[in-house]
C-alpha cells in the first residue's frame, strides 16, 4: 500500500469525516442552474468567422477530384481547406489513427469530412461549402458487420475489415457443456445508441498573437486532444491550449476528436480571427460517434442445482468506418461477457469490424451493455426451467473477493455483488412483487418484475497506461486552488474533488477552488471516461495533499518558532501540538511563503493499480477494479399495443465508499433513464450507409413522462486502494437495468425480445408469436 493511501486511511480512522460521504451541494450548481455558466459553443467574439465542414455525399466512394475554386470565389469566404492544407499527419484516432482529418482519395461514411470553409457568416459558410465540387466514384457500401468479415467483401482499410479479434478462454468449454443439464443458446442484437448530449460538437479556435493556438470546445480529454491536434498540424503540443466546456455532457461521445483539428486548421488560416464551428443536431447525428451495435451469440450451460458451468460467447461489433476505440470496446465486452460470476469453463471471442455505417466509439458502458444481456437472460431462463429463484442463482455463482472469476484470475479488489443481491432480495419491490404485479392500471395491461446483475471495470485495462495527477496551490486569501485536468462535463466530479481536498486539508469546501478541463493550468490526469474520474482525481488529490501539509507545516514551524514535529494540523489552521493558543491560519502561511519567494504549489502523481498479467489475446483484461450493481425493475406492458412503461427501478450499486450520496443518486438516476432509453426506445437507423434517423424527431429518448420512480440503495464495499474507499459509478449504473427490463417484459407477457430496442412494435409482435405457440401446443 502506498504512503498516501495509508495517510488517508489514518485520517479516516482518526476522525469523523467532515465532507466525504456527505451530500455536499454541487459547487458549480448555482452557475449551472442560473445559466451563468456558458457552454463553449454559446460564446461569440467580435471579428469572428464561422467554420463549416463539407461531409461526404456517399457512404463509400473514391474521390477523383476536388474543385474549390467556386467556393474560394464566394465574396464572404475567408478560407477553403482540403487535405492538401494539412501540414502534418492527415489522420486521427485515439488508438489507431485511421480516420482522415480531411479525406483525400476515398470516403468511408457519410460523416467523413472532405473540406473546410471559414466565412463571414454561418449562411455564407454553408453557401461556400455547397460550392465545393467533389468528383466521386461511388462504391458499393459494406453495411453488415458479418458480411464485412467474409472473404471477397469490399475492403475498407488496407489491413482488411476486421479491426481486431480478441479471445478469452478458460477451462474446457466442451467438457463444461457435456456436464451441463441445461443449455441455452440465443443471439442478441443491440441498438446504435446516440449519446444525445445537450451540447453538440463545436467550439472555437484562435491563433494567438504569440503564435500559440487556443481551442475551446466540449471535450473529454484536452491533454490528448492537444496531442492529436499537434500530430495533424505538425506543431509543438506545448503551443496548443485546450479549454473544455464545463458542461454539455459527453458519455464517451466526446472522448475522441470531434472538431478540434478542424478548428485548429481553420484558425491557422483566418489571420488571427477566432473561428467557430457548431454542429447542428442533424450534422451531429451523421458525424458523431455512436455506440457499437453488436450481434452477440451466447451459449450457456448450467446444472440442475443452478451452477453455471459453461459459457460460450461470440460477439461481432460494427465499428463503422473507423476504429476510434472500437478495439477497446470489443475487448471490454468480452472481458465482461460472462458476468460477475465464477463460471469454470468459458470460451469468448469478439470481432471489431469495419463497415460504412457511420462511426462507432466510446459510450458509457463501453461494450458491457451489449453483452450483459446474454448471460443475464440465460440465468433468467434457467430460473424458469428449474424453478430456482433467479436471485439465488446469481448469489450461488457470483465470485467473492479473493475468488477466481470466469476469466481465471483472482479478484483481489473489493466485490459487492452478493451484498447488492441481498439488498435486492429484501427490497419492497421484490418482496411484494406479486402484489404490485396484480395492481395493473387497466385489465389489458400486464406487469412484470425482474432483477439483473452486472459489473463494470474501473479505469483502463492492462494495456493502456492509466495515471492520475493533481496540483494544490495555496492562494493569497488562504484558500486552495486544486487543479485536476479531468473535465467536469456535468458529472459532478469537481464537487467530489473539493470534498476530498477539504477533507485532507481540513478546511471548508468553500475554500477550495477547483480548476478542471484546462490544459494550461493542470497536469495530464487522463480522460473523463472508464468510470475513473472519482477514483483517479480523488486519489491524485489525496496524493498531493500530504505534500501541501508538509509545506504548511514547515512554514508554520518557522512562524511559531518551534520544530516541525511539534506542528499539528487542525481545522483551518496549524497549531503547536497540545496548545491551540499557538496557531497560524493558511493566510498567514501564504504571507510567510510569499515573503520568502517560495513556491506555493505542490503536485501529486500516482499510477492506477493494475493486475500483473494480461490474459493472452484479451486486449487488456483483466481490470484490477470493478464496480458491481443489481437492478430490480417493474414494467407494465399494454398487450394491445406493445407499449411498455418502466414504473419502478431499485438501483443497488457497489461502488465502494460513496463520497457524495447526492452525486451518486444523480448518476444512478441518469444511468437508469439512459438504460431505459437503450432498452426501449433509442436507435440510429442506417440503411445502405445513409442515416434514416436524422434528429430528435425520430431519435426517441426518454422524457420525464418515461422516467419511473428510482430508488438508489448503495452497498459500500470498502475498496482499500481508493480515495476514502471509493471506486467508480458512472457506467455500471446503466447496465443491469437493460437485462432487467428485458426479463420483466418476459415476466409480464411471456415474450422475450432479443433485438433491442424493445419498441412497441417488437414487443407486440413477440406477444403475438407467444400466442401462436400456445395454439400449436394445444
Amino acid at each position: 500500500m502506498s504512503k498516501e493511501v495509508k495517510d488517508v486511511q489514518k485520517l479516516e480512522n482518526q476522525q469523523q469525516l467532515k465532507w466525504v460521504g456527505k451530500s455536499v451541494k454541487r459547487i458549480d450548481g448555482p452557475a449551472k442552474v442560473t445559466g451563468e455558466q456558458k457552454y463553449k459553443t454559446d460564446f461569440n467574439y467580435p471579428n469572428m468567422v464561422w467554420g463549416k465542414v463539407l461531409r461526404a455525399r456517399y457512404p463509400f466512394a473514391k474521390i477523383k477530384g476536388i474543385d474549390t475554386s467556386k467556393a474560394e470565389a464566394h465574396p464572404d469566404a475567408v478560407c477553403v481547406l482540403t487535405h492538401k492544407d494539412i501540414p502534418g499527419f492527415n489522420g486521427f484516432g485515439i488508438v489507431t489513427p485511421d480516420q482522415p482529418v480531411l479525406c483525400e482519395d476515398v470516403v468511408r461514411c457519410t460523416g467523413d469530412a472532405v473540406a473546410l470553409v471559414a466565412a463571414e457568416s454561418l449562411e455564407a459558410a454553408e453557401e461556400a461549402i455547397n460550392l465545393i465540387e467533389v468528383d466521386y466514384e461511388p462504391l458499393e457500401p459494406v453495411t453488415d458487420a458479418e458480411a464485412a468479415m467474409i472473404q471477397g467483401a469490399p475492403q475498407l482499410h488496407p489491413d482488411g475489415n476486421i479491426h481486431s479479434h480478441v479471445t478469452i478462454v478458460n477451462g474446457d468449454i466442451d467438457k463444461g457443456f457435456e456436464e451441463a443439464d441445461f443449455i441455452f443458446e440465443n443471439t442478441f442484437y443491440s441498438p446504435r445508441q446516440m449519446h444525445a448530449f445537450i451540447e453538440t460538437e463545436g467550439g472555437w479556435g484562435k491563433l494567438e498573437e504569440d503564435g500559440s493556438l487556443t481551442i475551446q470546445c466540449p471535450a473529454q480529454y484536452g491533454h490528448r486532444d492537444k496531442l492529436q491536434i499537434a500530430r495533424a498540424l505538425a506543431l509543438n503540443p506545448e503551443r496548443i491550449h485546450v479549454y473544455s466546456s464545463p458542461n454539455g455532457g459527453g458519455f464517451g461521445g466526446k472522448d475522441e476528436i470531434t472538431v478540434q483539428i478542424y478548428l485548429a486548421l481553420l484558425a491557422q488560416n483566418t489571420d488571427g480571427r477566432p473561428v467557430k464551428i457548431h454542429l447542428s443536431r442533424e450534422e451531429s447525428v451523421i458525424a458523431g460517434i455512436k455506440r457499437h451495435p453488436f450481434k452477440v451469440t451466447v451459449k450457456t450451460g448450467a446444472k440442475k442445482d443452478g451452477t453455471l458451468i459453461a459459457n460460450k460467447v461470440r460477439a461481432v461489433a460494427d465499428t463503422g468506418a473507423y476504429a476510434s476505440l472500437g478495439g477497446a470496446v470489443t475487448a471490454l465486452a468480452i472481458e465482461h461477457a460472462s458476468g460477475p460470476y465464477k463460471i469454470p469453463n468459458v470460451d469468448m471471442e469478439g470481432f471489431c469490424v469495419y463497415t460504412n455505417n457511420g462511426i462507432a466509439g466510446a459510450f458509457r458502458g463501453f461494450g458491457v451493455n451489449q453483452v450483459c444481456v446474454g448471460i443475464e437472460t440465460h440465468i433468467d431462463m434457467l430460473a424458469e426451467k428449474t424453478g430456482l429463484d433467479p436471485i439465488e442463482i446469481r448469489k450461488k455463482n457470483a465470485y467473492l473477493q479473493g475468488d477466481r472469476s470466469s476469466l481465471g484470475h483472482v479478484v483481489s479488489s473489493s466485490v459487492g455483488t452478493i451484498e447488492t443481491l441481498m439488498e435486492a432480495e429484501e427490497c419492497d419491490l421484490w418482496v411484494n412483487r406479486e402484489l404490485y404485479k396484480s395492481q395493473v392500471s387497466e385489465p389489458w395491461k400486464k406487469r412484470g418484475v425482474a432483477a439483473a446483475t452486472s459489473f463494470h471495470g474501473v479505469g483502463m485495462g492492462i494495456g493502456t497506461p492509466d495515471y492520475g495527477a493533481a496540483t494544490i496551490e495555496l492562494l493569497k486569501d488562504g484558500r486552495f486552488k486544486v487543479g485536476v485536468a479531468i473535465e467536469e462535463i456535468g458529472t459532478g466530479n469537481g464537487t467530489v474533488y473539493a470534498q476530498v481536498a477539504a477533507e485532507c486539508l481540513r478546511c471548508e469546501v468553500d475554500n477550495i477552488a477547483v480548476i478542471q478541463g484546462d490544459t494550461k493550468e493542470t497536469l495530464d490526469s487522463g480522460t473523463i471516461s472508464a468510470s475513473r474520474s472519482t477514483y483517479t482525481g480523488g486519489r491524485a488529490i489525496a496524493t498531493a495533499a500530504p505534500n501541501m501539509i508538509t509545506l504548511l507545516t514547515e512554514a508554520a514551524a518557522e512562524i511559531l518558532n518551534v520544530s516541525k514535529s511539534e506542528i499539528e494540523l487542525a481545522d483551518n489552521k496549524l497549531i503547536v501540538a497540545g496548545d491551540e493558543s499557538q496557531s497560524v491560519n493558511y493566510k498567514q502561511i501564504y504571507e510567510k511563503l510569499y515573503e520568502q519567494h517560495r513556491s506555493m504549489r505542490v503536485e501529486g502523481h500516482f499510477y492506477l493499480p493494475r493486475e500483473k498479467k494480461e490474459l493472452k489475446n484479451s486486449g487488456g483484461a483483466p481490470h484490477h477494479l470493478y464496480g458491481y450493481m443489481t437492478h430490480v425493475v417493474m414494467v407494465e406492458v399494454d398487450t394491445l399495443t406493445g407499449e411498455t412503461d418502466v414504473l419502478h427501478v431499485v438501483a443497488i450499486p457497489d461502488v465502494g465508499k460513496v463520497l457524495n450520496p447526492q452525486g451518486l443518486e444523480g448518476q444512478s438516476e441518469g444511468g437508469a433513464v439512459m438504460g431505459i432509453g437503450y432498452t426501449l426506445y433509442e436507435d440510429i437507423l442506417i440503411e445502405e450507409g445513409y442515416h434514416k434517423t436524422k434528429n430528435f424527431t425520430d431519435y426517441i429518448i426518454p422524457t420525464i413522462r418515461e422516467t419511473p420512480i428510482i430508488e438508489t440503495i448503495p452497498v459500500e464495499s470498502n475498496e482499500k486502494s481508493g480515495p476514502f474507499g471509493a471506486k467508480g459509478i458512472a457506467e455500471v449504473v446503466m447496465i443491469p437495468i437493460i437485462p432487467a427490463i428485458m426479463a420483466a417484459i418476459h415476466d409480464a407477457t411471456g415474450a422475450r425480445i432479443n433485438h433491442l430496442p424493445a419498441t412497441p412494435e417488437r414487443i407486440y409482435k413477440a406477444i403475438q408469436e407467444t400466442k401462436k405457440q400456445t395454439l400449436v401446443s394445444r
Binding site: E442, W444, P760
Partner: protein
C-alpha cells in the same frame, strides 16, 4: 434566398393580412405558432419570399358557442383548447387530442389552425375535428367559403386552401349530454412524439346498458389523409358494446385502413394498431360510461 434575408411582415388585422395575400408575384407563408413552419424552413422546405406573422391577430383566437356550433378561432392554441371549460364539456375528444399534441411547449405555441393547415396525416387534432363534423372557413380578400373537413384535405400536406386564402374560423358540432368521446394515440413514447396511429371516437349513447345509437370513428396516420371508419361506425349500433362486440368492431378496423411503412413503424403494425387503439378506446369509453 438566405433565410436571414426573408422579410417578415406583421399585419394588424385579418383584412390587412388578406389584402397582402392578394399579391400573386410573391410566395407567402403564414406564421402562427411556427411549430411546423420553422422546422420546415430549417430543412430548406417551403421557404417563402415573405413570412406573414399572424401571431398577434388576437381577433382569430377565441372559443365561443353560437347557434350553429362552437366557433374556434384558428389561432387558438392547443393549450387554450385544453383549458376551455366549454370544450371540456362539449368536445372532450378535441380536448383529449390537443393534450396529446407534442408536449406542453408545443401545445403553448402551436395552433389548431396551424395543425389543420399543415395537413399532416399524423396531425393529432384533425381526427377529432372529423368526428366533431368540423367546418373550415376559408377567407380571401373578396370572398368567404366554408368547407366540410372531410373535403378539406387532398393529400399529405395538401389542402383545398388557395395561396390567397387563410383559415378564419372552425365550427364544430358540440357533443350532447349522452355523447362521449375519446382520443387514442400511439407514439414511440408518451410525450414529444409523432403519432404512429391515432384515432378519435365519439359515441351517442342510448338509455339501455351500453347501448350505442350512433358513433363516429376517424383514424390518423394510417392513410394519406384521415380515414373515417364507416364499417366500424355502422357496427357500433348493432348491439350493446360488451367486450365481445368491442373486439369484433376493432377487428374490422384493420380492413379499413391503408397505412405505409416508414422509419416509425411498419404498415403491418400500423394496421394492427388501428384495431388495437379502437379496442382500447372503446373499452375506456365504456368504462367511463358505466361509471358515470
Amino acid at each position: 434566398m438566405r433565410v436571414s434575408e426573408i422579410d417578415l411582415v406583421s399585419p394588424s388585422s385579418v383584412d390587412k393580412c388578406l389584402y397582402m395575400l392578394r399579391d400573386h408575384d410573391k410566395t407567402f407563408r403564414l406564421l402562427a405558432g411556427g411549430t411546423d413552419a420553422i422546422v420546415q424552413m430549417k430543412d430548406g422546405k417551403r421557404i417563402p419570399d415573405i413570412w406573414i406573422n399572424i401571431k398577434n391577430l388576437t381577433e382569430l383566437r377565441y372559443i365561443r358557442e353560437e347557434k350553429e356550433g362552437i366557433h374556434i378561432g384558428p389561432l387558438t392554441t392547443h393549450t387554450d383548447i385544453v383549458k376551455s371549460e366549454l370544450l371540456q364539456k362539449k368536445a372532450d375528444v378535441l380536448v383529449g387530442a390537443s393534450m396529446e399534441v407534442g408536449a406542453i411547449q408545443l401545445q403553448n405555441m402551436g395552433t389548431v389552425g396551424g395543425n389543420i393547415g399543415t395537413a399532416s396525416p399524423a396531425g393529432d387534432t384533425i381526427p377529432a375535428l372529423f368526428v366533431l363534423d368540423a367546418q373550415i372557413e376559408l377567407s380571401s380578400f373578396n370572398e368567404k367559403r366554408t368547407i366540410p373537413i372531410n373535403e378539406f384535405f387532398t393529400g399529405p400536406g395538401k389542402t383545398v386552401q388557395k395561396q390567397n386564402e387563410m383559415i378564419t374560423n372552425i365550427i364544430i358540432q358540440p357533443q350532447s349530454e349522452n355523447e362521449i368521446g375519446i382520443f387514442e394515440k400511439l407514439g414511440p413514447r408518451k410525450a414529444q412524439s409523432i403519432s404512429i396511429v391515432n384515432v378519435a371516437i365519439t359515441l351517442r349513447m342510448g338509455s339501455n346498458p351500453r347501448e350505442c345509437l350512433e358513433g363516429k370513428i376517424a383514424f390518423g396516420s394510417v392513410g394519406p389523409t384521415i380515414i373515417r371508419s364507416k364499417k366500424c361506425e355502422k357496427m357500433l349500433a348493432l348491439g350493446p358494446l360488451d367486450d365481445t362486440a368491442i373486439q369484433d368492431i376493432a377487428g374490422a378496423a384493420w380492413k379499413e385502413v391503408m397505412p405505409i411503412s416508414d422509419v416509425r413503424a411498419s404498415a403491418k403494425y400500423r394496421r394492427s394498431m388501428a384495431s388495437a387503439l379502437l379496442e382500447r378506446g372503446l373499452y375506456r369509453l365504456m368504462n367511463r360510461w358505466d361509471a358515470r
